[in-house]
């Protein structure tokens, strides 16, 4: 499903973000990407949805080399790869419903499809009663749920989550993790960058560890400590 082959990314020719990273992630996996700030987690994810391109090596998604895609094909790729961000990135002037509906509309779905799919997604993330609320009227956890609904509404085969619990308290984070696990159970591959050891250790999923741009560990059902020790 996802493959990185000797990927190197250097920003502005100076800042080494990733160096010689190779790995494979299969369909339906749930993978944690761990490491301290600046270890290359975000760059790893940005290469997967073509926010960035690799300077060396290749990134493959569903058999296609992401870096070689023409610009016109990038929107298509992004519909295969849903994204969740630490700062949610919701459109502030739109309601919960409109934020989720937008992701469907850009794929050219009919209004009828939008009307039937958005409410079922909002129900899945537990926000049926907040349909007409605006983002600023929601708690952080609720905003992240909207963001998840938006990322998942197209039923993408891959979901990328960049520190999705970074701004949330423990209980709320657990709720978000349950939601991501549920989405993963439905067949979507989830790649989540985090440095929250509690979440990683509670989930016992595959862990890819990055350190200063290098892949220093890859273990199924791995554990992680924020101090950097990986068992």
């Amino acid at each position: 499903m996802i493959e990185l082959d000797q990927v190197t990314k250097i920003y502005k020719g100076e800042v080494l973000a990733l160096y010689g990273v190779s790995c494979k992630i299969s369909k339906g996996e749930f993978v944690f990407l761990v490491g301290p700030s600046g270890s290359g987690k975000s760059t790893f994810l940005k290469l997967l949805n073509r926010q960035e391109t690799a300077d060396q090596g290749a990134v493959w998604i569903a058999g296609k080399e992401v870096g070689a895609l023409p610009r016109s094909s990038v929107p298509k790729l992004r519909r295969l790869v849903g994204c969740i961000f630490q700062d949610f990135k919701l459109l502030p002037n739109r309601t919960v419903y409109e934020n989720v509906a937008f992701a469907l509309e850009v794929t050219g779905r009919s209004r009828h499809q939008v009307r039937t799919q958005v409410p079922s997604l909002l129900e899945l993330v537990g926000l049926s009663k907040k349909t007409h609320s605006f983002p600023h009227e929601l708690s952080g956890g609720e905003q992240q749920r909207v963001s998840i609904a938006r990322a998942f509404v197209n039923r993408p085969p891959i979901l990328l989550a960049d520190e999705p619990t970074g701004n949330l308290d423990g209980d709320t984070s657990n709720g978000i993790m349950r939601l991501l696990a549920e989405i993963n159970k439905r067949g979507t591959t989830v790649v989540m960058a985090t440095h929250d050891q509690h979440i990683v250790n509670a989930a016992r999923r595959r862990v890819l560890r990055l350190d200063r741009g290098r892949l220093t560990g890859d273990e199924a059902r791995g554990r992680y400590t924020a101090a950097g020790r990986y068992t």
Binding site: S72, K76, R78, R79, C83, K89, L90, L91, V106, T107
Partner: protein, 297 residues
């Protein structure tokens, strides 16, 4: 993939609702800029019209000998009537010339005492259809050599000066119009860019959820067009108002010169359509370029 009209309409409506202040600011920028530009065009039109009228009023005079025979007069008259470059003429006979002389030298009775109608030359005051100095000079030359003609006088210097000056004024006003238009384009583009800069994060999110560039661009372009057309349309009454104010001045006889600067309402309409068209074009292109800067996500 086709972008649905419903989507574009809803997005544009949303953009307008969420950004009322910047939307209004862009309209005002377009309105003021295009009013200035349109006014410059109208003034230029007025100047050309005015010089056209002054040039049209120029005539040359064919003086006949006092004793010219009737046949010679008839030959000159038929030549005047047949020439397509001559719009008409007035014949001033000897008595008429004498009357003019009396009027002209009313304060010098000693001159009038020594003049009788018989010694004054009759003349044809000829009105050419063109105002060009070279053409009028060539026309006048045709009559100079005819039998019975004493002299042809024409105000070539006056014509040449008028032509040169009107050309200078016309070019000057055109330059001002172009400078105003450039300033207007920059002001409008800048306002649109500010409006879109305020929404660069929205654009980033749209791109990240898989919107194609056209999905993001189109609502902004429609918005830019609406702003451009409204701003241009608002300039129309201003242009009419300006022309009417000028007409008001003329009626009250403030300035005789302004009479010719008042242009026909058809000209104002044409200028208005041009200005509105420019408004729409600037709106579309301004948005297109402004959005383009933020599409690279």
């Amino acid at each position: 993939m086709a972008v649905s009209l419903g989507y574009v309409f809803r997005e544009t409506r949303g953009n307008l609702r969420w950004n009322v202040t910047l939307f209004a600011a862009t309209i005002v920028a377009v309105w003021v800029s295009l009013t200035l530009f349109g006014s410059s065009l109208l003034i230029r039109e007025g100047v050309e019209q005015a010089t056209g009228r002054w040039q049209g009023g120029i005539e040359f005079i064919v003086f006949m000998n006092a004793d010219a025979e009737e046949a010679q007069h008839a030959a000159v008259r038929s030549a005047l009537e047949e020439n397509p470059e001559i719009g008409g003429y007035d014949y001033v006979d000897q008595q008429g010339a004498f009357n003019e002389f009396i009027t002209e030298f009313a304060d010098r009775p000693e001159l009038i005492e020594n003049v009788t109608p018989e010694i004054l030359p009759p003349s044809y005051r000829v009105k050419p259809t063109v105002g060009d100095a070279d053409v009028i000079e060539a026309l006048a030359a045709q009559f100079e050599t005819r039998p019975g003609v004493r002299q042809v006088t024409l105000p070539v210097e006056v014509i040449r000066t008028l032509q040169q000056n009107s050309q200078k004024v016309s070019v000057f006003v055109l330059v001002i119009a172009i400078v105003v238009l450039l300033a207007a384009l920059m002001l409008i583009a800048n306002t649109i860019r500010t409006a879109i800069f305020a929404r660069r994060q929205d654009i980033e999110v749209m791109k990240l959820v898989g919107a194609s560039n056209w999905y993001v661009r189109l609502p902004f372009m429609v918005e830019g067009t609406v702003q451009g057309v409204i701003g241009g349309a608002l300039a129309i009454p201003m242009l009419f108002l300006m022309n009417n104010l000028m007409a008001g001045f003329v009626q009250e006889d403030y300035l005789e010169l302004l009479r010719s600067l008042v242009v026909d309402s058809a000209v104002v309409w044409n200028t208005s359509l041009l200005v509105t068209g420019i408004g729409a074009a600037v709106g579309v292109l301004g948005s297109l370029f402004a959005v383009g800067r933020f599409l690279d996500v």
